[in-house]
């Protein structure tokens, strides 16, 4: 037992408590299937003002969940804060003194919202592979129902990075009157063949694990840990940049290209971990595989692959945004090769064609795709300025 009391920084939202909200109305999905009822796990920070005009929605990416900021356990000094803690809190870019910040675990997730690992009320067993594949528009539909439940008619802003940014785009298309600002960060209008290819490798790693049992591993009291680990390792490479890896694993003066060795010499064995980058990736994959459901991983990579709002508009995405009433802020990071700046510029061009109000920033950063989660000074200043302006224009700044 540790006696050390937990040190909570002054600009943290502090100890937070998620809540599980139950929805009884059936949700008709893009696939044509229906989810009879479901739970959404939600966390909120700050206070909703009397005019109900200061609410912002945070949409999470592949591995995120409702826990975006603050801490859960007052007794655990080692606990890491929520995944976007650098952005959410008093005085931070999404300033909880001004904004009411809402974040939820999306449907199909594995952090408390209804997903493949939930028990199917019809069978009394876990859904597993029977859980319907959820599209981004389905998530957004459920988020709109959550907004209704919270009494929020219009978000001051809907914000997301990566897959979160895709949900933001979908909000602007499906519910043009329900948001004033759309912040699309490190995203793309749709996945490229290369993006889908990486997702396919991830899925094959999981499905070829002998412990996968066609997704019914819960019934066998087992888990495709190795498969999830491999999937995450591949994914993780695409979140970093070459430059960052060279720096991270090139601390030795003698090592260039990030080829630091683990024990100072080569082993000449297949099953030995020679380079530090190997053990780093294995560690990342292993940690992730302990906390993430394999079926959720499969589902969310499919959701990513299927995202393409232009399909309803003859392939012309600008037509989808013609009715959007919100202003857009699009941001990208120079070393991101998963959704590189060109993909964001593509979105900007589409928004200009649709005659939307749009701002675009290309942030210089070595951290690759993961940069959107990190407190990079110019990125933080830009977010803060944009959000302060929203608060000012909304009369609550």
């Amino acid at each position: 037992m540790s006696n050390s009391t937990k040190q909570i920084p002054a600009d943290s939202v502090g100890i937070v408590k998620p809540q599980k909200l139950h929805f009884d109305e059936p949700l008709l999905l893009r696939s044509g299937r229906t989810l009879a009822n479901y739970d959404l796990m939600v966390e909120t920070y700050g206070e909703l003002n009397a005019a109900r005009s200061n609410a912002v929605l945070i949409c999470h990416a592949l591995s995120g969940d409702h826990h975006a900021a603050g801490y859960h356990d007052p007794d655990n000094p080692k606990e890491k804060p929520g995944w976007w803690d650098c952005c959410i809190g008093p005085g931070k870019p999404f300033d909880t003194n001004k904004f009411f910040v809402v974040c939820l675990n999306n449907l199909g997730g594995c952090a408390g919202s209804t997903g493949p690992s939930s028990v199917n009320p019809e069978t009394g067993k876990r859904f597993g592979p029977d859980f319907p594949i959820i599209a981004v528009r389905d998530w957004v539909k459920s988020q709109a129902l959550l907004a209704d439940r919270l009494g929020i008619q219009q978000w001051a802003a809907v914000i997301g990075g990566s897959l979160g940014g895709m949900q933001v785009m979908r909000w602007a298309i499906s519910y043009p009157d329900r948001l004033r600002h759309a912040l699309v960060i490190a995203a793309a209008p749709k996945l490229s063949a290369q993006n889908i290819a990486f997702n396919e490798v991830a899925r094959q790693s999981i499905m070829s694990d002998p412990d996968f049992h066609n997704g019914r591993y819960y019934d066998f009291n087992t888990y495709p840990r190795k498969g999830v680990m491999l999937a995450r390792m591949v994914g993780h490479i695409t979140y970093l940049s070459d430059a960052l890896m060279r720096e991270k694993f090139g601390k030795d003066a003698s090592s260039s290209f990030g080829r630091d060795l683990r024990s100072g010499k080569l082993s000449f064995e297949f099953n030995e971990t020679d380079f530090q980058v190997q053990s780093y990736l294995q560690y990342k994959g292993e940690t992730f595989s302990k906390n993430f459901d394999a079926n959720t991983y499969l589902l969310i990579t499919k959701t990513l692959d299927y995202f393409d709002p232009s399909v309803d508009y003859g392939g012309d995405l600008s037509k989808a945004f013609v009715n959007s009433n919100c202003k857009f802020l699009v941001m990208s990071f120079s070393s991101d090769w998963r959704f590189p700046p060109e993909r964001s510029r593509e979105l900007v061009e589409i928004l200009l064609k649709a005659k939307r109000d749009v701002s675009y920033l290309e942030i210089e950063a070595d951290e690759g795709h993961d940069a959107f989660l990190l407190p990079i000074p110019r990125y933080m200043s830009a977010l803060r300025a944009y959000m302060n302006r929203i608060a000012f224009d909304g009369g609550f700044g």
């Binding site: 749009v358 110019r378 300025a385």
Partner: protein, 197 residues
């Protein structure tokens, strides 16, 4: 507000769509938004200026038109395209002028007149590259690449079949004078053009 901008604001129609190429801190667009209810879009490359635009609530796109061009803007998607005090710093000024009139119904541009008499005398009598309030740089650290005179720009418009709707010359305090109007290429410090096709 900068001298040239004070004058050109009168040439912008209320409620129109304005693209400002090299919009700086966004104060001009912010002013037009407040006074003329325009739809604003600014292009800028300097990170500090972009930050100031965000603070001012001005739409700003980080884009280097000199390097990457303006192909991402649709033809006839704006009413007015502004290029203020930037023409002389571009690698291909003539191409940007073409792009301005492809994207906008009309264009407004301003540039320092290199043939201003003080500039001429500096070179002729002093033997030095001109320095003045409109050309404040030393020859070795100037962002300017292609200086031109009012006569040069008139000739470019003629060759490109660009119609000059309005032209005015002013000093650095946006004053005009009889001398300037009499011999603009000799007495004019800053040239301001309103052009269309």
């Amino acid at each position: 507000m900068r001298a040239d901008l004070v004058l050109i604001q009168d040439w912008i129609e209320p409620g129109s769509r304005v693209l400002d190429l090299g919009c700086g801190d966004g104060s001009f667009l912010a002013h037009l938004k407040a006074t003329k209810n325009i739809r604003d879009c600014g292009l800028e490359i300097d990170a500090h200026n972009i930050q100031l635009c965000l603070e001012a609530g001005v739409n700003v796109i980080e884009q280097d038109m000199d390097k990457d061009g303006l192909a991402n803007f649709e033809s006839n998607s704006f009413d007015t395209v502004v290029l203020a005090q930037t023409l002389q710093a571009l690698h291909k000024p003539d191409e940007i002028v073409d792009e301005m009139l492809r994207i906008g119904r009309n264009g407004i541009l301003t540039f320092p007149n290199f043939a201003y008499w003080r500039h001429r005398f500096s070179l002729l009598l002093g033997g030095h590259m001109p320095k003045s309030p409109s050309l404040p740089y030393e020859w070795y650290d100037t962002p300017n690449l292609h200086h031109c005179t009012i006569h040069d720009f008139d000739r470019l418009c003629e060759r490109k079949k660009i119609r000059v709707l309005r032209r005015t010359v002013v000093d650095d305090r946006h004053r005009s004078s009889m001398l300037m109007n009499w011999r603009p290429n000799f007495f004019g410090i800053n040239a301001i053009y309103h052009i269309t096709r």
